[in-house]
Symmetry: D3
Subunit: 238 residues, 6 copies
């Protein structure tokens, strides 16, 4: 039995609320159960120096956590003076995931920055961030389209969403919450597109190595969960 009484292949209650802040070109407040993340997409007319003059745009991401998003207060990274390794890993993953479904040539020489700020954390903040980020990115591109800024077509080629799976108490389960995550033997994050293409797989044996069969079971669960998340994205932006 899962601590949350969910079925092994059951997602937490997911909501994707759009246009939640006033200034951002796109935004989404995403909830995976008690994990709440505010995502904004910012359009800027600048590029990283190494990309200038190549006719292509860029999508990047930053990730943060409010100090009391967690059970114990976490030290503010701005006060510590640097981002932790975990923060850096997550924001690189979010950026790569978005770029996998954006045609950067079609976007043109602009940068979209996705900011994911965790308001409340109960496991799966990175997968919620990616799932919500797609909505914010979609709305940012819609904002551009409405202003006739995308004359070469739509740079958004597909959906992308993410979910974690793990082996908890001997059973492969979908969408781990914190109670499960901290006891899981194996923990994997999957990022898939709407078409079922794999964008990123990160599987880590927390205690004992896992087998190929276990891994395939997790991937099957992830396919199911991400299929549902993509449906929810479609409904959200309808």
């Amino acid at each position: 039995m899962r601590p949350s009484h969910r079925q092994p292949d059951e997602l937490r209650a997911v909501s994707l609320e759009r246009a939640v802040v006033k200034y951002a070109e796109g935004s989404c407040f995403v909830k995976f159960g008690d994990t709440h993340v505010l995502v904004t997409a910012t359009l800027e007319d600048r590029l990283p120096p190494w990309l200038k003059g190549q006719g292509r745009g860029w999508v990047t991401a930053e990730y943060g956590m409010l100090p009391r998003a967690t059970s114990e207060r976490t030290r503010r990274e701005s006060s510590a003076g640097k981002q932790t390794g975990r923060t850096v890993e997550i924001q690189r993953l979010i950026g790569r995931s978005m770029r996998a479904v954006v045609d950067l040539e079609v976007l043109g020489e602009r940068q979209i920055t996705i900011d994911c700020d965790v308001i409340q954390a109960d496991g799966g903040t990175r997968t919620a961030s990616i799932t919500g980020a797609w909505v914010a990115l979609h709305d940012c591109l819609a904002w551009m389209k409405a202003r006739d800024m995308l004359r070469n077509g739509d740079p958004l080629r597909d959906h992308v969403a993410a979910v974690s799976c793990g082996v908890h108490a001997g059973t492969a389960v979908l969408d781990l919450d914190y109670a499960e995550d901290s006891n899981a033997d194996t923990d994997a994050n999957f990022v898939l597109t709407g078409n079922g293409g794999i964008v990123e797989i990160q599987g880590t044996a927390e205690k004992v190595p896992f087998s190929e069969e276990q891994f395939m079971a997790l991937l099957a669960l992830a396919r199911k969960g991400i299929g549902r998340l993509v449906e929810l994205q479609k409904m959200a932006v309808m």
Copy 2:
């Protein structure tokens, strides 16, 4: 005429929502119009080194702004590696304001940290933060009381709230929003207690020095506005 069509002595729509996050001992989502701040109060069993063993507690504050809380995206302080001078000024002000109404001996050897994170900024983020911080602090102390952790009585001696006033287009006005703030000749922040005691006054001539009469007019407006904010705090915690 104010850009927002408010009367000179009219506050923006203010709301103080309690218990908005799951983990914090106290929390408040405060809105002054389009300025939205999430405030949490965290109780910890530790003290700054210089205060240890003196039988007194401490209340401190930290302040941050989400990158896209503003019209243009602001660089994340954790990525820049340090807090700006403005951030430091504001968080010191919030901390002093809370300590002015807390009896630190009665609190005992514990620290309460107030985190104010601006989700959306439209002027007056520091005054909204202080006003909401009192609610979060109140609830944190109530949480302690319910657990019999405050055996020497209630450390909270009074309300405290804050508002900005300024001279805009020749008229003294209450609770400046961003449109007014960026054009004001004079800008002052007032922190008062429920009893009308002055905790902090910060008046700054943005362009031309102001007169004592102008300053007194601003103080009168602030008294009126803070009186109303204290009423709203009372209703919120009822």
Copy 3:
């Protein structure tokens, strides 16, 4: 009785010595009793990036304290790797105070940097810094005038000086030294112009909130003290 045996409305011995270092365009060694600050004004042909090409100049300030300016040695900020919140607050105040009496259009596209370095601290380092900074700024502008660099007139519109006041042992007193400052119930800093205009008011209740009457008494003392400081500035630059 004040620890220094001064009358409630009596300043410490103030001196404003000009041209104390060889390279700076303007400089002043200011003493408020045992508080000694070396102020220099540096003219540079550059501007902060956000001000370029607007036909206006800038006046900014930095503040520092020698490690043994204080009774106990303070850690060197360059060794700690960052400026404290207190330093940042003070240098922003000095900069705003100077800009309140300078016409930045008349100054033209140049920057004047005021450096205030505390050689010895006995309370009131920020007010002594502002009072001395006006002299250094005046001399820097005189240096420019002598080289025909100010063809649109004199950018200096007025004097500006500062003093602290507080309630010590129940009495409102002028120009607090360290012994008074560390015991004061209320502490306020006032920055006024030669014409009596208010540039900045910062009043803080250290322990208990203060009343409007107390505040008005402090302001009246400040007016008197700053009047005297402006006279001393006039004599200094005569």
Copy 4:
């Protein structure tokens, strides 16, 4: 045809040289073709603060690259003042991989730090690091055994090694060098144990998402390559 003329399932020339520096308790100079990494294992009688007094030890890793390990000189991280996100990601991966085959209770309250310094980089520095790190770790534990410091048995439960695979020019290939890596459509790193257990899988679609079939082909290649690497580890420590 691969740029290096290797077969799709052919590793580069691999060498694992032991005891290459004088002071470290264990060390290995590992070469995967032109990728050369110096790995040392350091035993210390201290633990991270959060692990003290729990009867368990810790294995952690740090990773660095000499400035001219690369075709263009890279800025020294000590001079930049911080480690890049890539460095942080890699050193966390190495640490997790080692811990997957070490029984931390049996190790006892000590820390082993694995330092991986890239002398020359030609793709696959993280997989070479992990493969060599196992040898250095093995020798560090042998050093301890020789001094009778491991009285509860051998904490090393299995081999662990790593290799990258990718889809290059439409073909799944093993052990990508830089020329392949920079053109690969898909890039995955696999960390497996001697028994074939999966410790870590990281698969990333560089340009277009990949299919499950492609991923399984990469995993099959990785199994083959890591089997060979484990054989080489066995020969090295014989």
Copy 5:
């Protein structure tokens, strides 16, 4: 002819003023011509961690320069967030020089910190700092003696002073000022004791390597100059 019209073996006007600040246990305002350095010596009842419990004390030094000590304003190190290499080199040199004449066992388990802050720089700031530091150190030890804190005798074994020499326009000259220093072919700093013992020699060929004969000529000049500086130290502390 030297730019200053001095004889080749002529020091600049040197003054060593004692007790120039109120709080420090020892202090000296040292002038070598237009080079002015404020030196303080601070006694503290703490030691660096690696020296604790060994029955010995420590003397260390820090060095800084006010931003406008120089012809062009230099960026404040506290604002830059770190000390330059030059600063670090100089403060290490000052510390070593003082320790060469102090018996650290006799001093006992305390630390004396020498702060050298350059008010105005015209070449030779490190040599002026060392020469003045001896006076501040002497007075700090006298302060301790007067409080009966030195029961094992006087830890100060000798004088120590420093001077620079260089080859300017083909001639070996003593005590280079900035005009000479920036054009010198060779530049050497000498730190000698009152007995003529060598504490530190740093000779650097700025453009072309120098010969042993040239170096011996510089050393002879330094001996003469330092002899004179030691006489001035003796007069200063008489």
Copy 6:
């Protein structure tokens, strides 16, 4: 008797291996006994900002130590977030030493960066670095010559090498290893050219000041040792 049983004027076994890494324009793996340093020379088409447009090039150096180059593991500077004072001192010394034998006008507007990374440290890392750096620099210039990039002649005017000398157990000895260095009364580093010109002398009394005679004895030893090192450089690049 020296701990290593060497004669007082005997160098450790020295080797200078060229072309040890694949990418660098010049490289040298230098061994002074158990002190091993990898040196690379990197040619870049950029200059420090203050040197642009003057028709001259630049040679600079950076220095680092692998964490386990030492008997106890040293904290990685990239992880500490800054370079130590010792690192900064050494890299400045290496850079100055190379520039003393390079004609920067003949080099033209390019920068050569010398990276010295200590793989294993047993005393004398800075002198080994300088001696090896000359070889790497020589090969970098040869690389340029082979590509017809040095049309104004050879910028390399002479050899340069370095050695340490010290007074150990009352005897002046050449090329101190760690066991001697940590017990030496006096420690001096000498950098000389092939022609015997002095580039840099750094002599430091570790415990008691030393005499001119002692210093001359060290210089004589250094001459002998550096003569031998220059011969070895000549053989290496033959």
